[in-house]
Structure formats: C-alpha cells, structure tokens
Symmetry: C2
Subunit: 347 residues, 2 copies
Amino acid sequence: MPGRVTTLKELAAQLGLSITTVSRALAGHEQIALKTRQRVTEAARQAGYVPNTAARTLVSGRSGFVGMVLPIRGPNLVDSFLGEFVTGLGEGLVSHGSDLILAAAAQGQSELSVLRHVVESGRADGVVVTRIAEVDERLAYLRQRNFPFVAHGRLLDGDFAYHWLDTDGAHAFGEAFDMLYDLGHRHFGLVTISEPMTFRHLRQDGLAAAIARRGDPSVRLDVATAPRFDRGARIQAINRLLHATERPTAIVALFDELALTVMEEAARAGLAIPRDLSVIGFDNIAASAYAPPGLTTFDASIRQCAREIGEMLLTVIGNRPDAPLTRLVRPTLVSRASHGPAPTRQN
Amino acid sequence: MPGRVTTLKELAAQLGLSITTVSRALAGHEQIALKTRQRVTEAARQAGYVPNTAARTLVSGRSGFVGMVLPIRGPNLVDSFLGEFVTGLGEGLVSHGSDLILAAAAQGQSELSVLRHVVESGRADGVVVTRIAEVDERLAYLRQRNFPFVAHGRLLDGDFAYHWLDTDGAHAFGEAFDMLYDLGHRHFGLVTISEPMTFRHLRQDGLAAAIARRGDPSVRLDVATAPRFDRGARIQAINRLLHATERPTAIVALFDELALTVMEEAARAGLAIPRDLSVIGFDNIAASAYAPPGLTTFDASIRQCAREIGEMLLTVIGNRPDAPLTRLVRPTLVSRASHGPAPTRQN
DNA sequence: AGCGAAATTGCAAACGTTTTAAATGCGAGC
DNA sequence: GCTCGCATTTAAAACGTTTGCAATTTCGCT
C-alpha cells in the first residue's frame, strides 16, 4: 500500500480535482465524465482509500450497522443459540455491506437501557430483538420510537403490527403430540420454564390445541415447571413427574436442554428410553445427537432464520414498509431414538 | 421520555448555555462551575440525551468499538466456539463502555480484506484476531500498520512481539501423555488436522516433548491427519488408525469434535471405551459430556479467555504499551470416563 | 471606585464526508 | 462574435461533537 492516502481531501489534491468531484466519482454519479470516474477509481484503489465511516454516518444519517444487545447470563451459562444466531445474522447482512454491532449489558444494567443507548446514539440503523417476553418493554420502546427492528419471536396478544420471524413451535408441539398419540401414548408430561417468554405459551398452546383437536377425554397432560437457570429446581420438577404414582409415558420438553435433563433423570431412575418413556425436545442442539439413545427433537435452523432476519431488517431499513413483514418458519422433525410405542399398561 | 432533545445544540438552547459549556459540563470538566454541571447533567438526564457516536468519533478519532472478523464457514458448520467467545469478549468490553463490531466476510472475500476495511474505515480502535495460521497475513498487516490488536493464539517462530493470549495446549497434551503413560499405555495415536494452524503444532510438539522427556524407546506414536471440514476424510483417517494391525491403545485428539468421531468409529468397530481404547480430547464442548461414556478432555474456558482478551485490548488501545502483553492460560483436565488402564497385550 | 486575577463561559475551527446550488468551460446556432 | 444550452466541475454548507483560545463575568484587594 504505497503512499497511504487516507482522506478524500488528499486524494483530491493528488488528482488535482475538488473533493466534491472525487466523492461523486467514487459514488459513480453519471454527471461526472466517465474518464474522470475511471481515473479517480483507479487512484483510490491504488491508494487503498477507504471512506471514513464516522464522517459518512454523520452526514448521511446512516451508519450501515445493525445492532443487537448481547444477553449476558450467569458465568457458566453457555448460549448454544448465540453463536449460530450471530453467524447467520452476519451472513444475512454481509451481502448488503452492513456490519453487526453487539452491545453487552453490564451486570445490573437493564437490556432496555443498553438498547436505548444503541438507538439514541445513532450507532445502528436498525436492531434485532430476540427472546420476546410476554410484556416486552424493548418492543414497546422501539415501536413508540418508530425505530426499524425485526423481532425473533412474537408477542401473544395478536398485536402483530411489527416485523417478526418466528419458529412455529405450536405446530411442532402439535406434531409431536399427534405422533406420540398414534404410538399409543395417552398420558403426557410437559417440562417447561417459569420465565414469562412468549414461546413458552405458543408451544404449550400448540400442544393443548392438538389434544383438543383429537377430542379424546382419556388423554392426560401433567406439567412440570421450573426456572430456566435453576438446575436444582429443574431436576426436582422433572422427578416429580417421573415418580408420580401414575407416570406419563411420553414427555415433551420445551427445549433440548430440558429434554436432556429428563433423559438423565430417567436413566437415574432406571427407566429405559424409549421402552419405558418417550422423550421429545426442541432446538436440536449439538449434544442432542450424542446423548444416548439420541434425542428426537425439532430443528429450528437458527442460523438460517437469523440470516433471514438480517435480510428482513435491511429491507425494513431501506424501504420502511408499512405492512408488517412476518414469517413463520416450520421446524422439521429430527427423528432419533428417544421415542417409541407406549409401554403396555400394567402400572 | 418527554421533550426528546437529541443534540447538544438543542440542549444548550434549552438551558441558555453555549454548546461548549454543555459539552464540558457533561464531560465533568473542573473548569465549569459545579452548579452549572449539575444543572446540565440533570437536564440531559431528563431529556434522555445520548451523544451521537459518529460525531464524537469523527472529532476524537476514537470510535469506542472493538472489531472482529466473523469467520463464515460452510453452511452446516456450527461454531461452538464463537458463541462463547463473543459472550466473553462482550463481558470484557462492557466494563469500559466499549462495544463489539462483527464484520462478516462474504463468500469469496478474504478475511484480510474485511479486516483492512474495518481498520481503514476507522470503525474500530482495535481488533481481535483468532485462530492464528502459521503464516498469518492478518498479523503481518496489523503489525506493519501498527494498529492495536490482541491475538488469540501465537505464531510459531518465537517472534512474540505482539499482544496475545493463548491456551497452553502443549502443556495439556504433555499432561495427557503422562497420565496415559502412567496407566500403562505405550502405543499412542494422535488425530489432527491438515490446516496450517499454529495450535496444531503447539499441541503436537507438547505431546512429542513429553514423550522425549520420558525417554522410553518403547513408546510409539501414530499420527492420523485429515482436513478440518472433511468428515469423510476424517473418518477414513481415524479408521486407518483403529484398524492397523497394531492398534494404539490410547488416542489423543486435537480437539473434542475429532475425539467424538473417534469414539463413534470405535463403537462401530466394536471397541469398548475405555476398556479397549482410551480417548482424550481438548476444548470440553457441551456434547462431550453427553457422548457415552463421557469424554475426558481439557477445558480451555474460552469465555473467560475472551473476557481477558477484551480487557487486554482495551489496555493496549489506551496505553499503547511497548512491551508485549502475553498470557498463557493452562487448561484444566476434565476427567470423565473415556480413559483408563491400557489393555493387557495379547494381539 | 478601580484594577487585576481568577473563575467561568463562549467563539470558532476542526474532524471527513455528502449534497445543494452555482459556476465554469465549451461547442453550436445565429 | 455573441448568446444559449449542455456537460462537467466546484464552492460551501451541513452533520454533532470536542477543544484551543479568547471573552466575559465575578470578586477580592487596595
């Protein structure tokens, strides 16, 4: 990189042109003579010129960034979700030359305040919001502020007047029920979390709806609930399910991590999977393939979804559509060996 | 948020002060009367004022961002590493108010060109570089450019004149050998990759050094090599090892994913672990705990390392130390059930 | 009352870009 | 030779902040 020219001014001086002309030439404006355009482009390439982002942002009002707030969890909580999501988002953005900015929330700092900072400081042209809560102040803020965003997930109240992409957990849980019902299961367990996330309801409602559709009064559903990050409570809740006088023959877990715990506890209780108990998860995390006997689950293809979210957001930023962009992605069943026919009753 | 005031100018007008004074008051300059400072601070808080990042960056030359280039891999390659790393990095940065910018490399675009773009455009005050290659053009560029960076990993040639943090893979592999030797193993296998990453050499050299230290001529080491992302070739290489006329009794894998494949193939070949074969990995990814019988491996605590890298980089950006900051993190052995005494020879 | 120093505040330039509006050069038409 | 219109180029303002220097106010002291 010979003769480091960093600014438009230097480049202009070197070419004997005005800043304006150079700027326009690089932007490819038709009004600049073709010969000049070529000359400028070549000189810029030679000099390794890269426009200054801050200056461009300041004048144009567009930063070329998409923001996301990093959810910081407890110290030993790895987010198998995050790596995939970030990768996918990056893929979706790169084609349009956007980059991703990740702002972490410090301990004790609310996610909302970080989000506000990102928005108000003009760091980003739009943001992605994940894991929607039942009452989500982030969405409320963004909508009131009329700031471009795409949500990964939905609110419950049917108020869908914003752009979102979601995985159809309701459908998946219905599918799981139907499959298990057809295998003879009548007594079901659901392991869920107590945090007010909307996906919890959507999935549970999908299960309930499928049960209702079947119209079989002999179907029974027991629900075990525990806080998301309290491993002890989770194990307790699961064991209450496993050691009830009438034990479910099939357990559906809100997501794979819960399902894996169910399988561990079942093994500890001497139950063979799938002979004594069928287990079905959701997410298809890497460990699910390895945990014996292989967890049957649904693959939500997070990376692909994140990529689409990135593309949606760029559309929103560019076009400001007034009709909401929405997309419901149907997860695919990954059939492994953790489910099978209901055991013949003898209990 | 009543009366949205967004700029310093508006805030100044509202307070009847000059822009200069307001700016200085918010920055806490002593020269501004305490009373004024308080008045300004309160008004800014009320108005929800957040300084414009672009303007600040433009004049100060500091963006407050740390950059990193997202390695985009093949479509179905999840990077269990990335999520943890990004989370840790975010944690390390947030305490000093920095954010992270992630730039993805588009298909066919070199990682170097993206890095150059990030640097030259002034988007970031410093960058993090991971997965160091034997001949790493990114490091060469950054050093020549004298741009602040911290590397996750080391070059081989002893030319350590830059800031880095690395996991001591050499030590870990030595430890693994010593442990297995003491369990009676004499015939070892190493499963490694063909990509020119420095960590491959460091770990292999650590193993070789431990063997040499022991000075036992009966120790034998067979090496199986395959491209990182070619599952077929990987399986082939591993099976050559497993089906050799004289099979190793202990296999050390460069990282867990390889170790898990070894365990799968061993199971397929009817070998019981750890009775017939001991396997040891490196990384401690989530799946390693679930894959039967539980993989013995080393935990590199990626998240913690990334956090330290973030803190190091902020130091580098702030202080520009001339002595290199370096840190070698010793991974800890996670002892599960995939290793045991060497089988008694009968072959 | 007046002077000077100290305390406090403000003016204006600068950062590097985009963009509006205007200027310049040039050939054609009369 | 003069004007008009077109193609091409440029001057200057603007974006919102920080900061060197200058201006203003305050206040103690004589």
